[in-house]
């Protein structure tokens, strides 16, 4: 079907132009390696990137205001892994969500066979991959200085109760923080940029995302604040029954990831300095369950002993 090669088609590039373009590229430089090989200063401690109100809060290691960040922060503290907190936001994260953990930079030996295309890679440090989710858990377990062996709780029940947190407690949290009108100043202080030009569109986007998330998880057609609160109370009642008189969930001798996950919500819900509005109160649901309040206090004293001392000193 194809015609003789000598006859140029309609769209053929004229020969001189083709020759000219064939010259390019004149030279191909070797690829630059990522700037990560030369961080500003070598990290001696792993860095956990979290949401934090102020730089001061992050430096002194106070609990983050975001439940996901607080969960991993608490778990790392339970494991006794010392991390450096970096206040950050979602745009900094490679996965689009906080928290993520950057490992300490470690000097590596130069590999034997150096690929010639990367002349700059004889760096002193190995590029680190940010860890998220269960990888943080594995890192914490491997690097824990304590002898706690994180005995595994029954996996299937843990999964069921984790679903309870994400399915019943989280929608109520999302509603209270993102959609409830009287909490708007709080939301503005936590997540929104101060500039009024950026503030309104960001608020709109955040609210839409929160609404979508609530509708998707609850499988309902409308957002019903009262129903969300009832579901959250049911969830807390179940958690309270599960904890019973034990110190930690599932009758473990030491707190684990599930304790951290529950603590992340209970701590923030009952935090008086958080700035919750009074008319849609998750805290009122929570105070009814004494053992959960005790659990929150117990874990806080275990993980943040220095702030307890501070409070004692200031009083």
């Amino acid at each position: 079907m194809a015609g003789p090669p000598s006859r140029p088609g309609w769209f053929a590039v004229p020969a001189p132009v083709r020759e000219l373009f064939k010259i390019f590229p004149l030279t191909t430089l070797p690829a630059e390696s990522l700037p990560e090989r030369a961080p500003e200063r070598a990290r001696v401690r792993p860095s956990l990137y979290v949401f934090a109100r102020t730089l001061e809060d992050a430096r002194s290691g106070r609990p983050s205001f975001n439940p996901q960040c607080l969960k991993w922060q608490t778990f790392l503290r339970i494991a006794g892994v010392d991390v450096h907190l970096v206040p950050s936001n979602n745009h900094a994260s490679p996965s689009g969500a906080l928290p993520f953990l950057l490992l300490p930079t470690t000097p590596t030996s130069i590999p034997e066979k150096q690929p010639s295309t990367q002349p700059g890679s004889n760096a002193v440090t190995k590029p680190t991959v940010p860890l998220t989710g269960s990888k943080i858990q594995r890192y914490a377990k491997d690097n824990s200085p304590r002898e706690t062996t994180f005995s595994d709780s029954p996996p299937s029940r843990t999964e069921a109760y984790e679903a309870l947190l994400s399915q019943s407690l989280r929608p109520a949290w999302l509603y209270a923080l993102y959609l409830h009108e009287t909490n708007t100043p709080l939301l503005k202080a936590l997540y929104l940029p101060p500039s009024p030009i950026l503030y309104l569109p960001s608020l709109h986007t955040l609210r839409n995302a929160a609404t979508d998330e609530i509708l998707k998880t609850t499988r309902r057609a409308l957002v019903d604040p009262h129903r969300l609160l009832v579901d959250a109370t049911d969830a807390l009642r179940s958690l309270s029954a599960l904890l019973a008189d034990n110190d930690w969930f599932f009758g473990q001798p030491d707190p684990g990831l599930f304790d951290a996950e529950v603590f992340a919500y209970t701590y923030l819900i009952m935090d008086e300095a958080f700035g919750w509005a009074d008319d849609y109160s998750l805290a009122q649901c929570l105070v009814k369950f004494d053992n959960l309040v005790e659990h929150r206090k117990r874990l806080y004293e275990r993980c943040w002993p220095e702030t307890i001392e501070e409070e004692v000193n200031t009083n």
Binding site: A163, L164, L222, V223, D224, V230, R237, S238, L239
Partner: protein, 431 residues
């Protein structure tokens, strides 16, 4: 009398929706069939929360599985099924209920709605038999879009072969993206790779089975022990609310005759206890007698038309989403009639419509691009030569009162143009 509105029967089950199935099983276990009526209304808009199942008791509407159960107990209509459970069993019941919604729900969505083959062969025909004619074109696709949204986080969009991440024609799709007429002219050069030969369900089998295994093993662990013939989640003989909810989801995994039955393929050999559980729950429903079905009242023409219009509006890109969120906003704040916000919106829509219409008319009235400007000159004398510009006037003055013979075409044009001017047709086709 309690009126329970649900999605209608499908796949040999009393309902096509998991929570409707669950609440039907619950009602059938707690109440004698003389006390309640089951209405396959197939329209979530019958109740203000826009959700089925919905219970109508006297003037109250309650919707959703858990709220209805709570209402039955709080209104002292009947004893709940969970009365005999210990506190920790109740806690488990709530937690596993949440687990079912969080993990079994998206699996059912994947199997019945996201998978294009299953949707086309099984689910959509089932909806078509439930709905009346024009709604069968609009409503099922909306339900499917919602299900796809709910299962999105599993990252298995490949199951929907219509799904195209880049939109439109893109190169990776290869020959299949080309129209049939083009394809004939390109010789078939490559054989299909193994991956292309597989159905999307086969290509993602490892992830699919992983998800299914995770979900069903958790449930299977709780059913362990107890009666082998009639497995239940807590006690051996009685049925709990968790049994009903699990029946709703598991029956939709097991019963529909789907062409790509990855859920059933796992359920039958790997977790035979759950398989028996569904069968025994279904048998228990049938042995307790017939369900008190009632045919729904015929909908009025206005209501039916409104529903059609509503579902069509929701299909409009962009505008449909705004419309849906506006409706949701009004329903949440229980607004009816016109208020300031609605009035502003309405005015906005009307003004935009007017502006667009005016702009369109103005565009239509514009001269076609490329057409030459036309000018009309009053014809002072009766000579036709002056029509040819300055040269014509000069000629006409030179030639005196000469009148050229008008052709037929000219005559017609003169009639249209009136006494003082004439329209000149200009070839306005621009390419």
């Amino acid at each position: 009398m309690l009126h329970l509105h649900v999605w209608g029967p499908a796949f040999g089950l009393p309902s096509i929706d998991a929570e409707c199935l669950a609440i039907i099983a619950y009602f059938h276990n707690v109440l004698p069939s003389s006390l309640w009526r089951l209405i396959p209304s197939n329209d979530p808009a019958v109740n203000p929360s826009n959700l089925l199942p919905a219970l109508q008791h006297e003037d109250k509407w309650i919707s959703g599985f858990q709220p209805i159960i709570e209402y039955l107990t709080s209104a002292a209509i009947c004893d709940g099924l969970d009365e005999t459970l210990s506190p920790i069993q109740r806690a488990d019941s709530v937690a596993y209920g949440a687990y079912l919604r969080a993990h079994a729900g998206p699996l059912v969505d994947l199997s019945l709605y996201v998978s294009a083959a299953n949707w086309a062969a099984t689910t959509r025909p089932a909806y078509s038999s439930l709905l009346t004619f024009p709604l069968t074109w609009t409503v099922p696709t909306l339900i499917r879009a919602e299900a796809i949204k709910r299962a999105e986080h599993l990252g298995l969009a490949e199951l929907d072969t219509d799904f195209d991440p880049n939109g439109g024609l893109h190169l990776s799709a290869g020959r299949d993206a080309l129209p049939e007429t083009f394809r004939r002219h390109i010789p078939l050069m490559t054989k299909k790779t193994v991956h292309e030969e597989m159905t999307p369900e086969q290509a993602t089998a490892i992830r699919l089975f992983g998800l299914t295994e995770d979900c069903l093993t958790v449930l299977d662990d709780l059913v362990k022990g107890g009666d082998e013939e009639h497995p239940r989640f807590f006690t051996d003989a009685a049925v709990s609310s968790l049994d009903c909810l699990a029946f709703g989801y598991l029956a939709l995994m097991q019963k529909p005759a789907v062409p790509r039955s990855f859920l059933k393929d796992w359920l039958e050999p790997k977790t035979p206890r759950l398989h028996r559980f569904v069968d025994s729950m279904l048998a228990a429903i049938t042995t307790r007698g017939d369900l008190p079905w009632v045919t729904p009242e015929p909908t009025s023409v206005a209501r039916f038309g409104g529903r059609i219009l509503d579902s069509v509006l929701r299909h409009i890109p962009n505008l449909g989403e705004h419309y849906a969120s506006e409706l949701r906003h009004r329903a949440e704040n229980q607004k009816t009639g016109l208020d300031q916000r609605a009035l502003m919106l309405l005015m906005g829509v009307v003004l935009t419509g007017l502006a667009t219409g005016y702009g369109f008319q103005a565009y239509r009235a514009m001269q076609p691009f490329g057409a030459s400007t036309q000018s009309w000159k009053p014809r002072r004398s009766r000579t036709r030569l002056s029509e040819f510009g300055q040269l014509g006037s000069m000629l006409s003055s030179a030639m005196g009162p000469f009148q050229p013979v008008p052709s037929g075409l000219d005559l017609g044009a003169r009639d249209q143009g009136g006494p003082n001017g004439m329209l000149v047709e200009v070839d306005s086709e621009v390419d």
